[in-house]
């Protein structure tokens, strides 16, 4: 069966038929793509997940993976980009898939490479406990130089390691006191898809800083500053070279030119979104919502500010508001699912609450608090990112709003850093000058006290295929994500509103 599927164009057809008789997801073709395995990636792919199916589209047509730099190891370990950016997992990788790999390979899969696929490269790698952050939360170690690599940056704070459950931050090789002083934070892979939205530049000025936007060295134009949890890379080329060095342990400084171009060309033509409901029905219907399915992403306009009721972030869901306007062929169960999705869109777009103490939203002229909605921050059409550079301290990583267990709890899994800012520096607007965090976020790049705990919001697509959520993997599922917001902003969501929001997010 596998062979037939890989046999080019026919594959697409067979592929969709094959799916119907495959019950277990794990036997689904292309469910897990091993670096270097070769084969053909069809132009259109569908993968099961608990909420239905994810659709992935290659606008450039079917792709031979053999010899392709995104799919072949480039560095010294046997990982390809695909190892952590799997089509079936919305070009990220879910904790469910990671655990399955552990089971199937007895922990030998390259994804578990000691460098960043374990809590600490010095731990005994055969033990699952040495990979607990990856196995429990889907987190990879991201080691960043401290002070920052950019020597023009003058850090406004000092960093102390308060808790180091992995041992890596206090390690004499990998830690802050090593020969190359490094801070290790643990982060989820972000989607290498729908990137035309992520990379669309805003204005010459960066409203988050009141200064100029960083310049894309390739185009000479302002960069979007919306990639990575800390916006440290401005272009796909910088990013790919960074991934080559960090994840693939590449030793040549940067990728070969052809490999780099091949990777970037590939990334720019991958579009994805949830495509089917739990009953196998397509989410894309004639006269239905316009923002669903991967084709809508491929065809959509970039850089549209959409926190309005005319043409909202994920477009209009009016057709699903009442059974009367829904597609005729839908079953009762499907109808009963679509109505809450449409209501969830309204909660997301219009349900007001007090957004408060969120640095880089409340602190940039809007006021603290503001009575607005989810879409105030997540305002870009099709992806739900921020049109401006999207780093915000929404409270996921900083004490006391973080989702992590109490600082000194034995069960805490993430490192805790204490950052103390200089007296002369502008303080973090809502936390002052002494901040406990498990990821300083943007501040590790800028050295600024005001940036501590600001994380660039990622796109909302293919959520159903890639739990857990938030950069630190702290929301196990969409319900936990919604519960976080309910607590954080004292939203007083009703049970109905929560269910609606979860259903809504699950179709994106």
């Amino acid at each position: 069966m596998r062979l037939a599927l890989l046999a080019g164009l026919l594959g697409v057809l067979l592929f969709s038929r094959a799916r119907q008789d495959v019950i277990g997801q794990q036997t689904e073709p292309l469910r897990w793509i091993e670096a270097g395995a070769g084969g053909t990636l069809p132009a259109e792919m569908y993968f099961h997940n608990a909420d239905g199916k994810l659709g992935v589209l290659l606008t450039g047509g079917p792709l031979e993976m053999k010899g392709h730099a995104f799919f072949e190891p480039q560095g010294i370990n046997p990982r390809g980009c695909v190892t952590c950016h799997q089509p079936s997992n919305a070009m990220s990788v879910s904790v469910e898939a990671i655990r399955e790999r552990w089971r199937v390979t007895n922990g030998e899969d390259p994804i578990f490479a000691a460098v960043d696929g374990s809590n600490n490269p010095k731990l005994p790698q055969a033990l699952a406990s040495s990979h607990s952050l990856l196995l429990n939360r889907g987190l990879f170690r991201v080691g960043l130089p401290w002070p920052p690599a950019d020597k023009t940056v003058k850090p406004e704070f000092i960093i102390e390691v308060v808790r180091d459950p992995t041992g890596v931050n206090l390690d004499d090789t990998y830690g802050l006191k090593g020969a190359n002083p490094t801070i290790s934070v643990f982060r989820r892979p972000r989607l290498s898809a729908n990137l035309k939205y992520v990379l669309s530049p805003d204005d010459v000025f960066n409203i988050k800083t009141g200064t100029l936007m960083a310049i894309d060295p390739e185009t000479g134009k302002p960069a979007s500053m919306n990639m990575m949890a800390d916006a440290r890379h401005l272009t796909l080329r910088q990013q790919a070279n960074g991934a080559y060095r960090d994840h693939q342990e590449g030793r040549q400084g940067s990728l070969r030119r052809e490999a780099l171009e091949q990777i970037v060309a590939f990334e720019q033509q991958v579009y994805l979104a949830q495509s089917h409901d739990r009953w196998g029905g397509s989410l894309v219907e004639a006269n239905g919502p316009l923002g669903l399915g991967p084709r809508a992403l491929a065809d959509g306009k970039i850089h549209v500010l959409a926190n309005n009721n005319r043409d909202p972030v994920f477009r209009l869901f009016d057709a699903w508001k009442t059974p009367a306007t829904m597609a005729k062929e839908l079953t009762d169960a499907q109808r009963e699912f679509r109505a809450p999705v449409a209501r969830g869109n309204d909660v997301f777009m219009f349900r007001q609450f007090w957004i408060r103490d969120a640095a880089h939203i409340n602190s940039i002229g809007l006021g603290n608090p503001i009575k607005r909605t989810c879409a105030t921050c997540h305002n870009t059409q099709m992806t739900g990112q921020d049109l401006a550079p999207g780093w915000v301290d929404v409270g996921t990583v900083n004490y006391p709003t973080w989702t992590e267990l109490p600082v000194f709890s034995d069960k805490a899994e993430l490192p805790v850093f204490k950052l103390t800012c200089d007296k002369g520096a502008a303080p973090h607007p809502y936390l002052g000058r002494v901040i406990y965090t498990n990821d300083p976020g943007r501040a590790l790049i800028t050295g600024k006290c005001t940036d501590i705990g600001s994380i660039v919001m990622g796109q909302f697509r293919g959520l159903a295929a890639r739990a857990p959520y938030f950069s630190n993997g702290s929301a196990k599922n969409l319900r936990e994500l919604v519960d976080f917001y309910d607590r954080r902003f004292d939203m007083k969501l009703t049970e109905q509103e929560k269910v609606d929001l979860v259903n809504f997010l699950s179709v994106l």
């Binding site: 009141g210 200064t211 602190s363 002229g365 809007l366 603290n368 303080p427 002052g432």
Partner: protein, 257 residues
Amino acid sequence: MRKALLVLLVSGSALFSGGTTAQRREMPPAHRRNFVACPIVRDTKTLPCWLAEYEGELYFLGLQGSSASEFYPPQLNHEVLVEGTVTNDPRICGGIPLKPLRISVLPELNRACNTLLPAEDGLEAPAAVARRFSEDLRKPGTDISQREFIIPFDFDSDYLTFHTTRIVGEAARIAKAVNVAKIEVRGYRATTWLSNGKQFIETETIAAQRANKVGEILVGLGLPATAVTVISKNEPEPCDGVTDTDKRRVTVRLFTP
């Protein structure tokens, strides 16, 4: 407008110094309200209102808006510096409107500033001013005659807002269009004369911070670094309780060959 302010100044001093110009006034003019307080946010059926209390009286500061709005509201967890002139206009959200008005969010954290009042019948917010779309503001002008630009700042702040970045952008555009020979960027540090008679002086390094920031932006926008001279005046500007807000500024002057 400058003229009007001057007139106010003169009449103000006449009022407070009994007409003898030689004698220094003790207090800013009586119609001014210059004070530091915790801001108060009051919810309404529509947009939240921002208020602040001074000597038992409530003043209306403005409404929640967007980053393109003229008025940037205060922030809870921070004190606000209010500098305004009392009007006879009807109360808004229970507070006396101040016009003109400038507010500054003070940078240090103050967790005591935490008052959020629920909506109350009879205390309605006025309709929001029709919002100018940010796109309009992004369109540069075509006139190239301007040679001097004033970039205002909030107290103790070097943050350029959506609006003030446009002023720097205009200066850069014209500088390029006229083939500028020299650009002089001058940063100032100001003092606010508070209604209680105290002088409130900005932080010591603020003039340089502001000037350097504007200078860097001009260079970043493509003007030759060699043509940009950055000067800052660390000596705080004198205060009069009326025009103090105008002195928290950076000026950009263009010299053509």
